[in-house]
């Protein structure tokens, strides 16, 4: 996406290796001295063909596949798919399963927002905050591992419900973890709103008005920091959010400071939700039966991922595989806002502005081509599998 012409200007290429954060993307900033006058983006460095791959796998296999769309918000992808498939099949997961989906979803939001806090503190040169927030994040990572067995790709969802239950011991552990994190988060809120040095990097940087947020199609915390009232958990409650109501967190700053405030305050909201869900966890079954073949139809499933609205379009032809699975991840929407807002800012602000939308590059895919000894070979799934078995033998 381009803004303004690029001819006869000095272009600073950033990426594709680790531009600002440890994921691949390529940006070209046209600069006039220190000031950015144009920006363009090239994605696709981690495009893995998941949408195409989904068409060759059955609905159950796709649950595991979509968890690999994003390593940070894997649970929410599986939730969106499971809810969509259940809707097409005409079944509803039991209340306890829906509550556990929301519970894991909020725990995932905790670790995602804390991860972002660390990353962007690092971009701002505030490595102490980075280390502390990531140390604290281990609390929720450990809890997720305790509950689901995994630190990432929790695999809690199945079609028709969830495969994990929450025991009273786990419930107590989660409460203790949340209490600890809540006290830490209060400290972080003080830092991001009061530390003069840090505010110099965030206040008034990348300011986006409410109308701009709407025009550029921003979603999630990025949009809410500009006062746009959108949160799928509130607008179109899914899983257990109609029972456990969410208070939408918005801010009017519209700049990086606003994005800090919104995400940190959302942590408090997630702590409250987690406690409420644990207090009122419905009793009952964890799964209902979902047929292997899903009736023909089309369904749209929208959920609130940590980065904003996640959109799934699912189409079934009546078989056991999807005919089309379209995924639109929130980061894709937020790129437009960064590229537009970059103009007029100093080049030195770019890393923080890029990281400010909490971008997640693993949105879409490419083929795996391995170059070794100047020769080139394309490995199929079977080749990779054989290689991995040999490797670990």
């Amino acid at each position: 996406m381009e803004t303004k012409e690029k001819s006869e200007k000095f272009i600073v290429p950033i990426g594709p290796q680790h531009p600002a954060l440890k994921e691949p993307g390529h940006f070209e900033f046209t600069v006039d001295g220190e000031v950015v006058t144009g920006a363009s983006v090239r994605l696709g460095y981690v495009h893995r063909g998941i949408e195409k791959g989904a068409e060759d796998r059955n609905w159950t296999q796709d649950i595991y596949l979509v968890e690999r769309v994003c390593g940070i918000c894997s649970h929410i992808h599986a939730t969106a798919l499971a809810l969509g498939v259940e809707k097409m099949a005409g079944v509803t997961a039991p209340a306890r399963a829906q509550a556990i989906r929301s519970l894991i979803g909020e725990m995932e939001r905790l670790h995602s927002h804390l991860l972002w806090l660390g990353v962007i503190a690092h971009e701002g040169g505030f490595d102490t905050l980075f280390m502390y927030s990531w140390r604290d994040r281990e609390t929720v990572m450990d809890l997720l591992e305790q509950v689901t067995g995994n630190r990432v790709n929790y695999s809690a969802n199945v079609l028709g419900g969830v495969k994990i239950d929450i025991s009273s011991a786990q419930s107590d552990a989660i409460r203790r973890g949340v209490d600890f994190l809540e006290s830490r988060t209060q400290h972080y809120l003080n830092i991001v709103t009061q530390d003069e040095v840090f505010l110099a990097r965030t206040r008034g940087v990348g300011t986006m008005t409410k109308d701009q947020a709407l025009l550029f199609g921003a979603v999630g915390p990025t949009a809410r920091a500009s006062g746009l009232e959108m949160d799928i958990r509130v607008d179109a409650p899914y899983a257990a959010y109609d029972q456990f109501k969410v208070n939408r967190v918005t801010d009017t700053h519209g700049d990086l400071e606003g994005r800090f405030i919104v995400r940190v305050k959302e942590l408090f909201e997630s702590y409250r939700l987690i406690r409420e869900i644990l207090d009122h966890l419905p009793e009952g079954e964890l799964t209902v039966r979902v047929p292997r073949k899903i009736p023909a139809g089309e369904v749209i499933s929208r959920v609130e991922a940590p980065r904003g609205e996640l959109f799934y379009f699912l189409k079934s032809n009546g078989g056991d595989k999807p005919d089309r699975m379209k995924i639109r991840t929130p980061s894709l929407c937020n790129w437009a806002s960064v590229m537009q807002l970059a103009v007029g800012h100093k080049l030195a602000d770019m890393p923080m502005m890029l990281a400010g939308i909490d971008p997640c590059f693993s949105c879409n895919d490419r083929v795996m081509t391995i170059r070794r000894d100047h020769s080139r070979q394309t490995w199929s799934w079977e080749d990779l599998r054989r290689y991995s078995l040999e490797y670990y033998r």
Binding site: M1, E2, S40, R42, L43, G44, H47, G49, E51, K52, K210, D211, L214, L215, F216, G217, D235, A236, E298, I300, R302, E309, F311, F313, K315, D323, R324, K326, R328, L332, C333, W335, A336, S337, Q340, N364, D365, R366, V367, T369, T378
Partner: protein
């Protein structure tokens, strides 16, 4: 910024541009249009403050085997407001895969349009950029991975 018109009240202003509405759910309305009506339809939506283009879904529906009919690429422009999803829906025959760009009205649509160009081979005159967005630089020209006929390079 004004609140968008309720979706239930959107049938009347769009009636001239379409011959078919389909309610797929309480909160989902599909509006069937032709490609020359896309821009007028988007303008009508804008006039009623439906400005948030959530996504453009494109999918290939090839003709059934042995059928005389031509294969189609279907494009779905999803506009959202709260829980409501209004979809402008159009089918392009393989022989004329051209649709106008909506980028001048909706700047972020460029990413979705570039995806359609690369993945399905839709031609979109007027779009802001046709540079490769997702596929590798050395991907062969004229190979569209989201077509049903694509089974690997």
């Amino acid at each position: 910024m004004q609140e968008p018109t309720r979706m239930q009240d959107m049938e009347a202003p769009l009636a001239e541009l379409t011959d078919r509405f389909e309610w797929r759910d309480d909160n989902r309305l599909d509006v069937f249009i032709t490609s020359d009506r896309l821009l007028p339809a988007v303008e009508v939506l804008f006039a009623h403050h439906w400005v948030y283009l959530t996504a453009i879904t494109g999918f290939d529906s090839p003709a059934a085997e042995g059928s005389e009919a031509e294969g189609m690429i279907e494009l779905l422009y999803h506009f959202c407001s709260g829980a409501s999803i209004l979809t402008l829906r159009l089918s392009l025959p393989y022989s004329n895969l051209v649709v106008p760009s909506v980028c001048h009205l909706i700047p972020p649509a460029t990413l979705y349009e570039r995806e359609l160009i690369e993945m399905l081979g839709v031609e979109i005159p007027g779009t802001t950029s046709t540079d490769r967005l997702l596929l590798p630089d050395d991907w062969p020209v004229g190979v569209y991975p989201m077509r049903k006929t694509f089974k690997g390079l």
